[in-house]
Symmetry: C2
Subunit: 587 residues, 2 copies
Amino acid sequence: MLRTHTCGELRIADANKQVTLTGWVQRLRDKGSVLWVDLRDRYGITQLIFEEGKTDAALLQSARTLGREFVVQVSGTVVERLSKNDKIATGEIELKVSTLNILNAAKLPPFTIEDDTDGGDELRMKYRYLDLRRNVVRESLQLRHKVAQQTRQYLDTQNFIEVETPVLIKSTPEGARDFVVPSRVHHGEFYALPQSPQTFKQLLMVSGFDRYYQIVKCFRDEDLRADRQPEFTQIDCEMSFITQEDILNTFEGLIRHLFKNVKGIDLPSVPRMFYDDAMKLYGSDKPDTRFDMKFAELTELTRGKNFPVFDAAELVVGIAATGCAEYTRKQIDELTEFVKRPQIGAKGLVYVQYKADGTFKSSVDKFYSADDLKAWAEKANAKPGDLILILAGETHTTRKQLNELRLLMGDKLGLRDKQKFSALWVVDFPLLEWNEETNRYHAMHHPFTSPKPEDIGLLDTDPGKVRANAYDMVINGTEVGGGSIRIHDKATQSLMFTHLGFSQEEAQKQFGFLMEAFEYGAPPHGGIAFGFDRLCSIFGGADSIRDFIAFPKNNAGRDVMIDSPSTISQEQLTELALEIAKVKQKS
Amino acid sequence: MLRTHTCGELRIADANKQVTLTGWVQRLRDKGSVLWVDLRDRYGITQLIFEEGKTDAALLQSARTLGREFVVQVSGTVVERLSKNDKIATGEIELKVSTLNILNAAKLPPFTIEDDTDGGDELRMKYRYLDLRRNVVRESLQLRHKVAQQTRQYLDTQNFIEVETPVLIKSTPEGARDFVVPSRVHHGEFYALPQSPQTFKQLLMVSGFDRYYQIVKCFRDEDLRADRQPEFTQIDCEMSFITQEDILNTFEGLIRHLFKNVKGIDLPSVPRMFYDDAMKLYGSDKPDTRFDMKFAELTELTRGKNFPVFDAAELVVGIAATGCAEYTRKQIDELTEFVKRPQIGAKGLVYVQYKADGTFKSSVDKFYSADDLKAWAEKANAKPGDLILILAGETHTTRKQLNELRLLMGDKLGLRDKQKFSALWVVDFPLLEWNEETNRYHAMHHPFTSPKPEDIGLLDTDPGKVRANAYDMVINGTEVGGGSIRIHDKATQSLMFTHLGFSQEEAQKQFGFLMEAFEYGAPPHGGIAFGFDRLCSIFGGADSIRDFIAFPKNNAGRDVMIDSPSTISQEQLTELALEIAKVKQKS
């Protein structure tokens, strides 16, 4: 090694030792008589000292040529420091340098390599290799490594085998758009990159692997929203001879293991909530349960008092915001503006101030008596001092709108602390959801999810009501994982494809191998996949997954550092028998 | 769980317990009064027993409907077995079944699910999920899992961080052909799948990650030879502030850790050999050192005795095959046929039989005296009883031919035992190799490999003589890993690109980001990558990597199970702005 120690290693006990360090120049402070240099590597920072009169003159001169981010090798004696720095582990010592070897010079970086940087997003992405030098980014990736380690450790103890499934697979019409890979050997044919290893892990169960996992890259060619990446990583798992209960217990075990071993947090056992209740109580299938503020349905209580908005509404529903009774007109107007934004779409907001003295003031005082409002308050579990916020309209839409308002109020009340964690299982998802665009039902999870046996009869009469053996894990209002018990017989799988609008031929072409596999002895099985990038960002207490991915792409799916995607040579296109269409088609 | 125990778990101590098992019917033996069923899962086999008169009649009848590979759940009492089977861990007990639940029926498999199967390669690949049920295949994948676990364990203790690098990257002209992925958003542009994460791991070093690893999928669109896969897995590693010595020691440590912890073998320390010596002594840069049989250069000893073949040859070189002096005419003819095969291409073979009585008999007795032959024998370290086999011709070609013959003789003499392991470092590879097709030098390892500083001067005068700081690990004659110390300054990297025939513009377009990164403080660094599939097959004592990959592709790059690659819809092509060329171009 070009060093004897790392920059995070030396302590007072090492005083008088001759050592050699390597690293990057973090900072120089030249006081004339003394030059201090902070030398940085992945492991820490060590202060170097050069002294006028004591340090060799040529050496001192050379040290004065150093700039930020120069890479150097220095040798010298460890000495006790006059003024200790208790913020860093090496803060009791410094290195009295006797030789300096500049391993590589550095141009001035385009942004400062500090925890708080002056670099904008695009600049940081273009020079990602410099951005990655910042402690905060490197630590995010170290955290990711630790989450992966601990995931493997837990699953290994549970007899799971990690099996690599192929990346060059086959395009399927269901789900999101595939990335495809043209075949050079078979002209006109394409591989596809997996959106998940779903069918392969099911085949591994048919093979008797019993317990499979993989931390695996998956791909979706979707229009990128903020914080989505075309390639992402999953913790992908599957088990045989289990019921839903076994899966929930096993993976609650995983999550609690991770909290314990990565964060040092004893997560309590994870509660379960029916999908229907989550929608009813939180207006979301991924409720943020760090705070209560449950929905109170006021429809019946509001009827027949000649307030046309409520009378006409399918649902009148409210939440009580603790201690917000004294919100000003302006504050309430802001909330009204919020719910009326196009992306939320409420028509208006009704409020009831439950004053500390027990009186009420509301935007519907014209229609409702104090007794009416008191009844609402009781239903909403509001106390004097609280503000009740009410929306009305079509059930599903109104719930989703109130969910947004609830999250906003949670933020305002400081109830969404990123270092506080609340996990939840949401279970019994609907099997199908109606898609207005395609005018047919789509699988809510995926086409391999088994309906609850007791609901199969509804498939023909009321498909939207069929519940699936499907479950999501939600942490702090974010879906971190989801899965289901799978169909494991050909007849049911075939029935599912029919209900999803596949012709026999299509089903056979796309998934014939899976249905055939089910005829050779498929065990009952089910599984789950966790969004690894997202999970890491939650452990890191961050909003964005961006810094938990070493080399992310921007929102246009472009890697601005390597400038990809990019054109390829005509020779490559010819080999692939491809031509670029001259006129850009509507996509 | 649908079971209380696995099929590999019950012992005599469990006698009289009520248990429930699940699994696949491996075999039925119906003796009329007694029906035995072997029930199989990943963990083992347990014998079930049904007895006429004792077992409920309906249950017995149901059991008689079972076929091979049916999936069942059985409950009953563990009983001691009359005739023990000491070949299986559960051989002292059997399960007296009281309830049988057929979880899934099975059609008769297209081949037998046994260690020795009657299925051919294509059939096994089409029904890979059945092939994976065979112990021998499942155990290969379990071994793979263990190698991965132990790799991570070792590298974790050495402070390596696993970092995921992107899969959607950029096509580069150097090296093998890339698989490309058309962009839907940026029409006419493509991502490429990585042949290795080379530039990214170097950028991670520039970022100060210090020690990186990844077990990662890589992709090469090459014409597939036997036992090559378009997607393969690497153990990819990189270190900063190191010399070649540090890399060799660190990864010798990895290999010895793996042998110890996966195979229980104490591998001795790994010897090092210069590339030049490997070529001279074994005619190969990946010599099989499980056996000696080194090359003896006889050129000088054979000159001037009027044997035109030897006199005209640049090199005369031989090996001594222990104990083969009494090879028959027919046996020697077979060896001659072997070296004359077109893929080897020797013109002929000279032999010298060094008889047990100390006399010689050779195919060149006309030209050489017994004393001559004795001198050759001494040079070749041959003893009485040995057979000396000699080839002559152009140096490089002849060495490669003799390498093939040496390996054949090793096989014949049983010196290539797959359960014996011999590892070797080959070091100081040439930096460049001449390519006749492109009429220019290509990087032997890759364009980022650093020349030995003392050889840089030769770049202009004798490029083929420049040695690289490059090394391969060879086990049993197979290259399992290779790497190099990298260039870490822009000037040298730019010089390399020039020597590889890149224009300034090309170099800038393809690798501008890397050369720019070198200007912002790049540390000295180097690394290595191991072929994970191959490494696992060596640990498994297998010739082929096929069974160490869960879902391999065939030699035409096709997954015959899922039938991929395949056509995609016109809608997909339109979205990607692609057209399939009507006339197939020559590729």
